[in-house]
Symmetry: C2
Subunit: 372 residues, 2 copies
């Protein structure tokens, strides 16, 4: 990724007018409609009542359309968790102290976190990408160091990051995703860790959608009413600051400006990872609220990206259900999760794999000698 000139291509073209400049364009082709239709026809020939596998049939057809085959494969999953700190966390917007970001990265790597357990039990690679943790992390085989800074600026006072940092963070995410795919992954699971990042997600959503802030702000990891009021007040300040800087809300062509103004590094990296995965025509499992916000930003840069997104779950975070509906997403699970870390994506993976395997491995009516 470079601060490249404008492009006629999708993501690049829309960014040309941004005051941030432009990131290198991603070439994202829509999923294949003809393969999608062929997959739906094939599903009707399998030994089950038509449509009786419900949403898994629709998902199976989508996987076919993404991968341009009637034999989709999602048996080599890779999980990327992007971790970063946030200036706003100094103001106290979370139930946890800021140091927990680095502590949880250590916990991911030593195998004790939820995503570690899920990755291990599903025989799935797990890579943590440090794009801005406020600590010197010890080297580890599963840790990719792409630190932009030790946390973003405090969005109540200043821009979260510079345009150059934004481009670099998007590139870091894209690189991590491309690397996983080059190493053989045929489905990517994306997650995040960063104390304070549901606050930033709410602000990003507010900017992009122009929905009232109350609709966007939630309890994150579990704050009480007083903390929620404080979080709302801080984000109101931050939103006023960016509008004071002349950046109107609710305009998809301003998406890169919102990202550099609000942060965080993990959001920018997630946007890059989603775009790069879609460019490679690989399905990407979107985890909870934060990753869904990143998917909304990726769509603002390249609408076709949603063809490759599989929304894992609707979480307990306040704005998630409305955001998913806005994206026409059909999340697989509704388990009242509110953890992040790609945990919801990991829990949904077996359903994604089952949908592919049912399509490829079930018998047809004629093959099995079953009457229609």
């Amino acid at each position: 990724v470079s601060p490249a000139a404008s492009s006629t291509r999708d993501a690049g073209g829309r960014n040309a007018a941004s005051r941030v400049g432009s990131v290198a364009p991603f070439e994202i082709r829509p999923a294949d409609a003809a393969v999608h239709a062929a997959a739906l026809r094939y599903l009707d020939d399998l030994t089950k009542p038509r449509g009786s596998l419900g949403r898994l049939e629709r998902l199976a057809a989508r996987l076919c359309a993404m991968q341009r085959t009637l034999e989709p494969r999602v048996d080599a999953p890779a999980t990327l968790v992007f971790a970063a700190d946030h200036g706003i966390a100094h103001e106290g917007v979370s139930a946890y102290p800021r140091a927990v970001t680095a502590q949880m990265v250590a916990n991911f790597l030593s195998g004790g976190a939820a995503i570690s357990v899920l990755a291990r039990s599903q025989r799935m690679s797990l890579t943590i990408v440090d794009v801005g943790v406020d600590a010197d992390l010890a080297q580890h085989a599963a840790l990719l160091s792409r630190k932009m800074a030790r946390g973003t600026g405090n969005v109540c006072e200043q821009a979260a990051m510079t345009p150059a940092q934004l481009a670099a963070a998007i590139a870091a995410g894209a690189d991590a995703a491309s690397q996983a795919i080059s190493h053989g992954a045929n489905v990517l699971l994306l997650g995040e860790m960063g104390i304070g990042n549901t606050a930033i997600g709410a602000l990003l959503l507010h900017q992009l959608s122009d929905w009232p802030l109350e609709q966007c702000v939630g309890r994150g990891t579990g704050i009480d009413d007083a903390q929620l009021a404080r979080k709302h007040a801080l984000l109101t300040r931050a939103a006023l600051r960016t509008r004071g800087a002349g950046i109107a809300a609710g305009d998809a062509t301003n998406a890169l400006d919102y990202l550099s103004e609000c942060g965080g590094f993990e959001y920018a990296a997630l946007v890059g990872a989603i775009l790069a995965t879609a460019e490679r025509q690989v399905p990407v499992l979107i985890d909870g609220f934060a990753v869904t916000v990143a998917a909304a930003y990726a769509r603002a840069l390249a609408p076709a990206v949603l063809d490759y997104c599989v929304f894992a779950h609707v979480s307990a975070e306040h704005a998630h259900r409305a955001l998913l509906a806005h994206l026409d997403a059909d999340p697989l699970l509704d388990l009242q999760l509110r953890l992040g870390e790609a945990s919801g994506a990991a829990l949904a993976l077996p359903l994604v794999q089952a949908s592919a395997t049912l399509l490829t491995d079930m018998a047809t009516f004629s093959g099995a000698g079953v009457s229609r």
Copy 2:
């Protein structure tokens, strides 16, 4: 199981007054409340925000309470699919001909059906129990032959089965479940196959709940409006017949009478399997509408049985959601499935396994050095 005398014990005691006589009692102890409370406390000490794994935490605590341990194990699943034919299928209540029951059993055994694919990909044993298929089935290592008859009587004209057949079918289900547990299974998945059996399930639900028949009847494998009207008319006849025989609806103490009057053999076997699994303090994954109806009958015989039931999903079958609510069930998935065969249970199994593994394998705050 014998047509035993009354008993002071739970399931047996309640059956003493039944005109069917009694089945041997099952001794079902409630899940352990103290272990449940200890599990919830332990979950709060794991490295995640309190409650952030949502419904999986509640499920993990339930598994602990069933198995009387803080180290629950659900890593040795066994699937039992009970297959039988129904006299009413001659009247045309399904989108498929009656011969499909036997054809699908063959498909289960040769590996081409949905449940075959799911069992294989999850390394899970699959046993088909023939309790009344109208065909001579070839022997197979995964086929247990406990055929009561070649299908039940037509419930529009006569009782589905004799009291002796009912007792034998319940015993067949209980035996199959006990055998799987004795062979090492620590979680059971139950399913069914039988052309016409959503009609019978609707009738069974109507009898037990006294809900209007319209609330109980659905489209099964996918019948059209005219077929639905016909199904409703046939079941009205059947319900009138049983009331003419002096069996009042809506009375849990009549549960065995409803089963012998309405059928089917697979329902009776499922009731036995659920009761026997609960007696062994093993979690049982309840599949779709038919198995949920069987769970409602098992509860009528022994209320504590629900402590051991994990409801896998809410299906697209009309009455399923209301029935689950009536049972205070919290189904894990909502995928618009309407297939049966234990397919929904198999799809939910990874979530059940994840809930146990997260509890046993995650680090604690103190262990991982993470700030609270």
